[in-house]
């Protein structure tokens, strides 16, 4: 038995997990229990298979297939195993979380549908990652896209969710279209559909078009700015464990695709590294700037996914530049950091979405400014959110720090290269950019954490919410533990990501620079010990002598509404990024010494690309696009006719050659 066979069993089990429930009545708790048990079992086996493959060699299996290409290939190497781990861990924990969050008893109308597609999406994610050729990859890719559409639109009566779903579906298919073009060119250049390293690809004239198409197609899935249009709405509208799956795992499939294409190249062009660093920095900075402007908790988290995808791209860019410079010591740091950030982001972002879901469950709103003071009643959720928030900001001693440390160290190492040049300059820009992105993330998560959990409740509803239920706590606890463990034992995680990243070194299995990976070693533990010592000393020393109200300048009628809100906290930073965020501000109109009562200040930040550019452009172009509707009447017979006619023309064309 090979790890690939175990993986096939696991993904089959997971994909099938929601179907038995369809035979039972809507609202039946048993249906949910069966689905969860099957799903968790499948994910456990899948994690086992991935861990096995993470330490083993490459396994390949090939099957005859009637479709073009003649066969379908699956392959499991350390790189794909590395990406499979978060798929199964996040999905499995999400399924447990769903027991409490989307209980069948409260959602009899759509619970079964949710679980069917949740399983199918997870199973097909495994299919994409284990794909050995373009056909398997695209088949899995398409199933993931469709399943994710149904997951986003779980609540089919929610107009917002439907809108988000359609935008997602359109952009997913644009992405698939681009990938079809990319894989076709790839076949022309390499002579086969297999996703294996190809020596001829380096000198191919098609290399640049292939890489541009790969950046566009995979960038659409990963949510690279400005291709992120589908991401914020879809993450906000979906149920929270689906948001966690989308953000933690589905985006990473875009990164996986890009990385898989990179492994096929015999050498990297310099422009690719510079493009990755530039895309990474712009996604990172813009993602967090847009997040700062949000006051919908889940939209805020969604924009942070864009930021983290940016960090991953910066790491890949540093790696590519290192290989191009012939300096594998900093290349491996960039690649290993990028891959480790894939794990880390899956862990802390899923954790944050779970905690956000618990908060939304308790308060009934996603509006940050309607919350406040939740830490007192939601101790577990608040602590989980705090761990996730500190981790996503890249703060030591948690996991986000480890991956960002690796990438930044790669950037510093680049400066020790002889000679300067554009490659060193590109890599050198990465460390300050990471620090800037991290510091902005601190601003954003101080805002999110404190406005939601600290201070006093801003609404009556926020004052009565209850903490998360047992199953939701299990999911949050598991991920929080992952964040802490990777942070405290960085050498182990860094070693695993290095093993997975070696295939990215374009043939040179370098050992130089490996020493750096273990350097962090016991430092996080030492830091934790110092913090704990100071903490214990301080808490022992400072016994509260008196509890009283917050100082209010003697104004006795203080109201929770005077507290800093999500908008006011971020106002200065959003102002600095006004040129890119384009916030909508409604200022009160003040005239005379006694302005009219009931003045309101409001500020919203619609997405600059989707809401300011794409949607207006499409609605303006509607009359022209309407002409195409004559052939798009929605009759299936007509569509089949189009296909037949197209095939006939192609057949005639190929026969004439």
């Amino acid at each position: 038995m090979t790890s690939l066979q175990v993986l096939a069993l696991a993904s089959g089990l997971v994909a099938f997990s929601g179907f038995p429930g369809l035979l039972l009545k809507a609202g039946s708790t048993a249906a949910q229990r069966i689905a969860t048990v099957l799903h968790v079992l499948g994910c456990a086996i899948g994690t086992g298979a991935a861990v096995w493959a993470l330490t083993g060699g490459t396994v390949t299996a090939r099957f005859a297939w009637a479709l073009p290409g003649g066969s379908i290939t699956f392959s499991l190497d350390r790189l794909s195993a590395f990406f499979l781990v978060p798929v199964f861990v996040v999905s499995g924990l999400g399924s447990i979380y769903g027991e409490g969050y989307w209980a069948e008893s409260r959602h009899p109308g759509n619970g079964r549908k949710l679980r069917v597609f949740y399983g199918v999406a997870t199973g097909s994610l495994a299919l994409v990652i284990a794909a050995g050729d373009a056909w398997a990859f695209l088949a899995g890719w398409e199933i993931v896209s469709l399943a994710a559409f149904f997951l986003v639109t779980t609540d089919q009566n929610d107009v917002q969710a439907l809108r988000a779903g359609w935008i997602y579906l359109v952009s997913a298919h644009v992405g698939t279209l681009v990938l079809f073009a990319m894989f076709t060119l790839l076949r022309d250049a390499t002579g086969g559909w297999l996703l294996v390293p190809s020596a001829v690809l380096g000198s191919s004239a098609l290399l640049s078009p292939i890489l541009v198409l790969a950046l566009a197609g995979f960038g659409l899935k990963a949510g690279v700015i400005p291709l992120h249009v589908w991401l914020p709405d879809a993450h906000a509208a979906a149920p929270s464990h689906v948001s966690a799956l989308l953000s933690g795992v589905v985006l990473k499939v875009g990164i996986y695709g890009l990385v898989r294409v990179l492994t096929m190249l015999p050498a990297y062009p310099t422009w690719l590294g510079l493009a990755l660093v530039a895309l990474g920095i712009s996604s990172g900075v813009m993602g967090v700037a847009l997040a700062l402007a949000q006051h919908d908790l889940k939209r805020l988290l969604a924009y942070h996914s864009i930021e983290n995808i940016g960090i991953i791209l910066i790491g890949l860019g540093v790696g590519v530049l290192g290989v191009a410079q012939g300096r594998l010591d900093w290349a491996i740091l960039g690649f290993a950091g990028a891959l480790l950030h894939v794990w880390n982001h899956a862990a802390f972002k899923a954790l944050l979405f779970y905690a956000a879901g618990a908060v939304i469950h308790a308060t009934g709103t996603r509006e940050i400014d309607a919350m406040g003071g939740l830490f007192r009643r939601m101790r577990f959720t608040g602590t989980a959110f705090l761990v996730g928030a500190a981790a996503i900001c890249g703060l030591p001693p948690l996991n986000g720090f480890v991956s960002e440390w690796l990438i930044a160290l790669g950037s510093f190492r680049a400066l020790t290269s002889d000679g300067g040049g554009v490659r060193v300059l590109g890599a050198a820009a990465s460390a300050p950019a990471l620090a800037f992105i991290g510091a902005l993330a601190v601003a954003c998560f101080v805002k999110a954490f404190s406005v939601v959990f600290l201070g006093s409740p801003r609404t009556a509803r926020a004052a009565t919410g209850a903490d998360a239920s047992g199953s939701m706590r299990v999911a949050m606890g598991g991920l929080a533990l992952a964040c802490i463990m990777i942070g405290l034992a960085p050498a182990v995680a860094a070693r695993l990501s290095r093993d997975a990243a070696v295939v990215l070194l374009a043939g040179g299995a370098g050992t130089s620079g490996n020493a750096d990976l273990g350097v962090l070693g016991l430092v996080p533990l030492f830091l934790l010990a110092v913090l704990a010592a100071f903490g214990v000393a301080a808490f022992a020393w400072t016994r509260p002598a008196l509890r009283t109200t917050t100082w209010d300048c003697g104004y006795a009628a203080g109201s929770p509404r005077v507290q800093y809100s999500a908008s006011s906290f971020a106002q200065m930073l959003v102002g600095l990024f006004r040129w890119a965020v384009f916030p909508d501000e409604h200022r009160p109109h003040m005239d005379g010494p006694f302005p009219a009562a009931e003045q309101r200040f409001e500020s919203h930040a619609p997405d600059p690309v989707l809401d300011r550019f794409l949607l207006p452009a499409f609605s303006r172009g509607r009359s022209i696009l309407g002409l195409a509707r004559a052939i798009q009447a929605g009759r299936i017979q007509a569509y089949i006719l189009y296909i037949v006619v197209t095939l006939l023309i192609l057949l005639a064309w190929s026969a004439s050659w």
Binding site: A389, T416, L454, T542
Partner: protein, 302 residues
């Protein structure tokens, strides 16, 4: 090792004295006598003996802020070469941890401010996270340039540049880094022109207004943490500015301590000679600091 520990102890003890130096400088320029040089020690002794008044709105986060505001500069001091001695904790990439611990402290200090639910503290926290975010790239660019000059990936290696040689090779870059880091020092330590530690109007302050509700020992931690943070940032500048090493540990420590006092005097002079900037101007100055340090990187890469 022993000298390193001795120097660390010296910095830990000396830090509050630097606050006294700044205040005495300002007083002398203004023609006043000013508070005693040891005033900060008296304040600390008094604060640590006082009771701790807590707002009933707050949670444990409220105390985590003061804890981190001492712990972060302490860890940073472990990472720095003090007075010509190698750092106690030095490893490849330790400069990233240096930045990381201050970010950690900023997170909890700002969250502690927000924990009170007071608009004053919210205002301070919002300003703190904004300005620090803009100061951070300047610090990193400077470190990158020093990595290039020294070929070292540790703070000890890059700050203790073999002096004369590096100054001769790239004096322009080092001057740019010093200018940039001095601006960062003023911003990170809430000094004029970014913040005025002397005003008593909450609306104009950053750091002071963030800790408005902290009392007694908790405020003592914050005061000591602020002094230590000042010493840590001054160490960056002094170590870079005075590359001379006599070989005698005691003499090196004396020169280093004199350097710290000297930088404090300069901070005091800056504070005496200019007013606080309007808040909208602050980001411009910080971007200038980043550009100066970025320019230093370009110069050494040339």
């Amino acid at each position: 090792m022993v000298s390193s520990i001795a120097n660390l102890a010296a910095v830990l003890v000396l830090a509050p004295f630097l606050l006294g130096v700044i205040n005495r400088t300002k007083a002398l320029v203004a023609g006043r006598t000013g508070p005693p040089l040891l005033q900060a020690y008296y304040d600390l002794a008094k604060l640590l003996r006082k009771g701790f008044v807590v707002s009933s709105t707050t949670t444990w986060i409220f105390l985590a802020g003061p804890v981190l505001s001492v712990a972060a500069p302490f860890v940073a001091a472990l990472l720095l070469p003090l007075g010509g001695q190698p750092a106690l904790l030095s490893f490849t990439g330790d400069m990233i941890l240096f930045v990381g611990v201050f970010a950690l402290a900023r997170f909890f200090v700002s969250a502690a401010a927000m924990d009170t639910g007071s608009p004053f503290e919210g205002m301070g926290a919002a300003r703190e996270v904004t300005f620090s975010a803009l100061a951070e790239p300047a610090l990193l660019f400077g470190m990158l340039a020093l990595t290039r000059l020294s070929g070292s990936l540790t703070l000890t290696g890059m700050l203790d540049l073999n002096a004369a040689a590096a100054w001769q090779k790239a004096s322009a870059s080092i001057v740019l880094i010093l200018a940039s880091w001095f601006i960062v020092l003023l911003a990170e330590n809430a000094r004029v022109p970014f913040d005025d530690p002397n005003t008593h109007l909450e609306l104009t302050m950053i750091h002071e207004v963030m800790v408005l509700d902290h009392a007694g020992p908790a405020f003592g931690f914050i005061l000591y943490g602020a002094a230590l943070k000042l010493a840590v940032f001054e160490t960056l500048i002094v170590t870079l500015l005075i590359p001379y090493r006599s070989g005698s540990a005691a003499l090196d420590l004396t020169i280093f301590a004199a350097g710290l006092v000297g930088v404090s005097v300069v901070v005091g002079l800056v504070e005496s000679s200019m007013a606080r900037l309007r808040l909208v101007r602050v980001p411009q100055l910080l971007v200038t600091a980043t550009l100066l340090a970025g320019f230093a990187v370009v110069l050494v890469l040339r």
